[in-house]
Amino acid sequence: MSILIDKSTKLIVQGITGRDGGFHTSKMKEYGTNVVGGTSPGKAGEFVDDVPVFNTVRDAVNKTGADTSVIFVPAPFAKDAMMEAADSGIKLIVCITEGVPTLDVVEAHSFIKSKGASLIGPNCPGLMSPGKSLVGIMPSMVFMEGRTGVISRSGTLTYEVVYNLTENGIGQSTAIGVGGDPVVGLYYIELLKMFENDPETDSIVLIGEIGGDAEEQAAEYIKNHITKPVVAFIAGQQAPPGKQMGHAGAIISSGSGTAAEKIAAFEAVGVPVAKEPKEIPQLLLSRK
């Protein structure tokens, strides 16, 4: 097992005829993901790497039985794409697009929730269950099948952490990048809960960064609900207040959201925090 995606996942790609959509469709297929279709209004009947293109998500769902969607459309159209997926019966919507206006995400998220679906992202690398399915843009070669769950707000930092795990023989059950924006879909608590309930996950790595208080909430949740060992890493200790560090959500405002507060919150509930990604494997092994 794994969480959210596995071998039975049927994926469609929204924006499949674009440069990124097309490129990653091939990468995901190559990895073994069951990509059943894609959408691009006005391009029905075309194929991208043998994957059929539909005009609407509803057509794609009706013809293929897709349950998961990954979105590569440009930021101004991302809200509409997320809502279209939810309205057409897609249950897991993964939005890769960066730079989506916050209020668009607020509106789309509320709509998605009302349809009983889940959102991951936007501004995220997607997720991967090694050996089973890749939905998004993660570089598959650094991953290895295994029993550690990974949750992160970042893209390349996730790869860095996973690379260190794999090099030390620690495989992953599922790795998820939740996205770097202030408002995104599934977050630490929902995902911690899923990993806790997944019989094939034994331990969890949580990668946080400055901005907001989600790490503090996660620490509180871990204390009360998580029995599996958790190791954390927090990026941005050197970030100056008031400056946005690349991610729209990575900003220390009015002295709150600092790395020091987050590290203290984890340490207070017995979750060790690695000083650098290289330390994570040892910390995990020592907790098993």
């Binding site: 930021a75 101004p76 960066e98 730079g99 989506v100 206006p101 916050t102 209020l103 995400v105 607020v106 509106e107 998220h109 509320s110 709509f111 009302s114 690398p125 843009i137 993660m138 570089p139 070669m141 650094v142 707000r153 970042s154 893209g155 390349t156 930092l157 996730t158 790869y159 860095e160 690379y163 770097g180 202030p182 408002v183 960064e209 400055i210 907001g212 208080d213 989600a214 909430q217 890493f233 990026a235 941005g236 200790q237 050197q238 970030a239 100056p240 400056k243 946005q244 560090m245 690349g246 991610h247 729209a248 959500g249 990575a250 009015s254 790395a259 000083k275 650098e276 990604p277 290289k278």
Partner: protein, 381 residues
């Protein structure tokens, strides 16, 4: 993106939120002219700068007559408030305040929605109120698909007022402020204070708006109000080239792909005893041109003694970065040593390209950082 109080008040007026009569001025003479046009003997002179704490810094003064107005205008114009030079003042009618309140809309990460915040503790630093007496702040999460219906605006207004006539007036302001917040893609719309005057009027005597940078593409008029500082200009220039840059002041320049990894790189430099000069995320796909631009930006910082490049290839291909670097060094002559770490997509090809160069190539982030810190120490000036 921030705007000035007077600009926010113009938006308030457009949306029908009552504000006091006021005129923005750039000189003492302007201020005198404005004074003659305002229907009030007493006026407030306020510095217009992109920072809080204007009052404490002496940037807000009451003038009872023209002589005082001239004196205050002259003192405030040109003043330095937290590094911002005052080049505009707002001259506004002084109102007879009976009570002060706080009203704002802000994006709440936890409820993934806009929230309305209100407090009877107006005119104070709201963060301090939130910290010390959180029970004095009332919050309402707004369903984006519904907005702020009459009943909700009324319920919120009753948190501030007892008199139903005042509640009705405040409820309208609460709804109009939400409309403004949503229609301009704001990340903050704040009235602090909203005042009840002795004449029983409710008006906004301060106004603060911040906007979502990601939404500026659909608000060209708001985007045109941007007044970046010198430091922000460099950041904006970097943004126009497709990367994000923040100056930090240390001696090790960093170029990294991805924001999280870039932050972690800064942290590890510090952990190993060095000081990062900057945060620089060159983003997902990195063409050689992007690498050249990034390299130029790093080397334009005269404090930089070593450049550390940390690339984890996902979408970014290591050979592209290597090609970019080779081209960059053809164009830029520099003695600054460069340490590079390449892992991920096409790493072998990338490293092969850099084999016969002066670059220090390392396989892991820790090794590369250690080398960079050592080189920075050797190149102490």
């Amino acid at each position: 993106m921030k705007i000035h109080e007077y600009q926010a008040k113009e938006m308030f007026s457009t949306y029908g939120i009552p504000v006091e009569q006021s005129i923005v001025c750039r000189s003492v003479e302007d201020a005198v002219k404005a004074y003659s046009r305002i229907d009030s003997q007493k006026v407030i002179v306020k510095a217009q700068v992109h920072t809080g704490g204007r009052g404490k810094a002496g940037g807000v003064k009451l003038a009872n007559d023209e002589i005082e107005l001239r004196r205050h205008a002259a003192a405030i114009l040109g003043m330095d408030i937290k590094g911002f030079r005052v080049d505009r003042i707002l001259v506004g009618q002084a109102v007879n305040i009976a009570k002060e309140y706080y009203v704002s809309y802000v994006i709440d990460r936890r409820s993934k929605s806009a929230i309305l915040m209100l407090s009877k503790e107006g005119g104070m630093d709201i963060e301090q109120v939130a910290k010390e007496t959180p029970e004095k702040i009332h919050k309402f999460a707004i369903d984006p698909l519904v907005g702020v219906p009459d009943y909700l605006a009324r319920e919120a207004a009753f948190k501030l007022f007892d008199d139903v006539n005042q509640v009705r007036k405040a409820a309208v302001i609460i709804q109009k402020l939400y409309k403004l917040f949503v229609e301009t893609d704001a990340s903050l719309a704040e009235i602090n204070p909203l005042v009840l005057t002795q004449e029983e009027e409710i008006i906004a005597i301060d106004a603060k708006m911040t906007f979502d940078d990601n939404a500026l593409f659909r608000h060209p008029k708001i985007a045109a109000l941007n007044e970046p500082t010198e430091e922000e200009k460099k950041e904006l220039f970097a943004k126009s080239k497709g990367f994000s840059y923040v100056h930090l002041g240390g001696e090790i320049g960093c170029m990294v792909n991805g924001a999280g990894l870039a932050m972690a790189t800064m942290d590890i430099i510090k952990l190993y005893g060095g000081n990062p000069a900057n945060f620089l995320d060159i983003g997902g796909s990195s063409s050689p041109t992007k690498v050249i631009e990034a390299m130029k930006l790093l080397l334009s910082d005269k404090n930089v003694r070593v450049v550390l490049i940390n690339i984890f290839g996902g979408i970014t291909r290591c050979d592209d970065v290597a090609k970019g670097l080779l081209e960059a060094f053809d164009q830029i002559k520099s003695d600054v040593p460069v340490v590079i770490r390449l892992t991920g997509t096409n790493e072998k090809e990338g490293r092969a390209l850099l084999k016969d160069t002066d670059l220090h190539v390392a396989k892991t982030m820790s090794k590369a950082t250690r080398i960079a810190v050592e080189l920075a120490e050797q190149h102490q000036i």
